[in-house]
């Protein structure tokens, strides 16, 4: 690392790792419940496990993005972070809000709106937390010596993500309106501004790892985030097909959703092309694997599998079935989990001075988690297609269909075990790096 204050990033990454581990436990609870083993029902009912699983995902990704920003912005702006103390305070408050929310879900304290279950009073704390974070980042950036495109795109993503949280806080009596604005948060986050964050981090990693000229990488970064917004904003329409808000979205959502894979394809081609073009081969092979991996898997998971079920005629049948879970798992994994794991893999040796660049454990972590997640995706897909056919075409009862597809959850849980083994290895490597140290400072 080049700046002492970058060390803050380590603690955000550590929080990410902790929350990711918890997320997996709740995932298993749900997997077993789908197989018919719901022994925990009276303590952790399915809706609790589900809210905890998805919210932990969001919080560990956000914590990873924040850590990434605290690592990247000082280096890009050539300036120490504006306030390290405030950054630690922000970390602690993020953890506290997260813990209160997660505990609350076990006691029926929530809002019951998919992905936005955090109760309203805690929402205000989230807002204060995010404003503090943005304050630190923006002051650092504007007091810095440089304002690079990479830093600006990353910061723009973070600012828009904060702004888009607000429509989700408005109460509507009408369920259709409620749902309409809920997607302003959820969709415009994951298929809009989070992609700016992803693009910013990816661009930073490619500059560092491949050594390709910054101007070339940043030019293509603009093209990709441009494609993301052009397709993603109107692509929100695919959530509006069947929620009572009009027919126009069938056309608009259908067309622009079909364009959405382009942004991800662009991202994948961009990463591969820059890697091939680069003359400097950075020794951190693990970080390179995750960087190229995120670009490719996000294209398959978010791009292709998204396209597969956002065609209106298909979505009529797959909407609200396990097919959505299939797309959701590989999309979040490929686009966001992997980019966070990529930046952590890149940053850890620099923060701690321990150069675990090419360890067997690290490579196994990459392959086991990826193959495990692909297996889970296939299991969800098979279960989902069978569900669609039996329930929506043949007209069998929901409960009877669920019994028919239970066996696929055995495969799902087996693949999830492989996935979890990979993640455990990743976390083992994380711990093995040790704590960040001033001795790792490099002056250039």
């Amino acid at each position: 690392m080049k700046y002492r204050s970058q060390k803050v990033a380590y603690w955000f990454f550590a929080l990410s790792m902790l929350l990711l581990s918890l997320q997996l436990i709740y995932g298993f609870i749900m997997g077993f419940a789908h197989m018919g083993y719901d022994g925990l029902h009276s303590v952790i009912a399915f809706n609790t496990a589900r809210a905890v699983h998805t919210n932990l995902l969001v919080v560990w990704l956000l914590s990873g993005f924040m850590g990434a920003a605290y690592y990247i912005i000082p280096e890009e702006a050539e300036n120490e972070l504006a306030s390290v103390k405030l950054a630690y305070a922000q970390l602690i408050s993020l953890a506290v809000v997260g813990v209160i929310a997660i505990v609350g879900y076990h006691f029926n304290y929530w809002e019951g709106r998919k992905f936005l279950e955090i109760p309203r009073p805690l929402d205000y704390l989230v807002v204060v937390n995010v404003l503090t974070f943005l304050g630190i980042i923006l002051v650092t950036l504007f007091k810095g010596k440089k304002r690079t495109t990479t830093a600006l795109v990353l910061t723009m993503g973070l600012v828009f993500a904060a702004l888009l949280y607000l429509p989700g806080m408005i109460w509507f009596d009408n369920q259709a309106m409620d749902s309409f604005f809920r997607w302003w948060v959820v969709h415009l986050w994951v298929e809009g501004v989070w992609e700016l964050i992803m693009g910013g981090i990816l661009s930073f990693l490619l500059i560092k790892i491949t050594g390709v000229d910054r101007e070339v990488i940043e030019k293509w970064l603009y093209v990709i985030v441009g494609l993301t917004f052009i397709s993603g904003i109107l692509g929100t329409g695919h959530h509006y097909y069947y929620i009572g808000v009009g027919k126009i979205w069938l056309i608009v959502g259908g067309i622009f959703s079909a364009l959405e894979p382009l942004a991800f394809l662009g991202m994948a081609l961009f990463a591969i092309a820059m890697y091939r073009k680069g003359e400097k081969k950075h020794p951190n092979k693990i970080a390179l694997s995750w960087t190229l991996g995120t670009a490719i898997v996000s294209f398959v998971g978010a791009g292709l599998l998204g396209l597969a079920h956002t065609i209106p005629q298909v979505n009529m049948y797959t909407h609200g079935t396990l097919v959505t879970a299939m797309h959701g798992h590989l999309a979040f994994w490929g686009a966001y989990a992997m980019i966070v794991l990529a930046i952590i893999s890149y940053a850890m040796p620099n923060l701690t001075g321990r150069k675990l660049y090419d360890t067997t454990t690290g490579l196994y972590a990459f392959w086991l988690s990826n193959i495990g997640m692909l297996g889970m995706t296939v299991a969800f897909g098979v279960a989902g297609v069978a569900q669609v056919y039996l329930e929506r075409k043949v007209g069998l009862e929901f409960g009877d269909v669920q019994k028919e597809i239970q066996v696929h959850f055995l495969i799902l849980v087996s693949c999830a075990t492989m996935f979890t083994t990979g993640i455990c290895m990743y976390i083992y490597e994380f711990v093995k790096h040790g704590r960040p140290s001033d001795e790792a400072l490099v002056t250039q």
């Binding site: 809706n47 009596d173 749902s179 293509w220 985030v225 109107l234 009009g246 609200g320 043949v394």
Partner: protein
């Protein structure tokens, strides 16, 4: 070949234009379509109370409504039409976990009033125009 400033213009221009179109479409949908399709005149205080109970208990954490939620329990958009009021109230007021086909529901043990509110909400949802969702099973004999 594309320059960096042209790429920047593509990003900013594309974003502004698509966002403007998105806002205009949203405005049209919310002001013209939603009131008609959801029969807003039927959105009584009882329906709203039902929605509050629906959210306070995170029903979407297991069920889907309008196709949105979790995939552990049945789709409820047309449940009023499919099961009728008596069945829904029995499930909501049950003091033991409702599990008609083995999969358990949380035993909410709602009062008659609360159950009526949720039923009113589900009845209202069932009458919204969702462009044909959920589809009718076309292979059903």
């Amino acid at each position: 070949m594309l320059s960096k400033s042209q790429a920047k213009t593509f990003f900013l221009g594309g974003t502004i234009v698509t966002f403007a179109v998105f806002l205009a479409l949203s405005w049209t949908s919310l002001s013209n379509e939603v009131p008609k399709r959801t029969h807003e005149e039927n959105l009584t205080p009882q329906v709203v109370r039902g929605k509050e109970i629906w959210e306070a208990n995170n029903c979407m954490g297991c069920h889907t409504i309008m196709g949105e939620g979790a995939y552990y329990a049945p789709e409820l958009t047309k449940v009023y039409e499919r099961r009728g009021e008596g069945y829904i109230k029995a499930a909501l007021m049950s003091k033991t976990p409702w599990s008609p086909r083995g999969r358990k529901m949380v035993a909410y043990g709602f009062s008659e009033q609360q159950a009526n509110d949720v039923v009113a909400f589900l009845k209202w949802i069932g009458e919204t125009d969702l462009n044909g969702f959920p589809p009718k099973p076309d292979l059903k004999k």
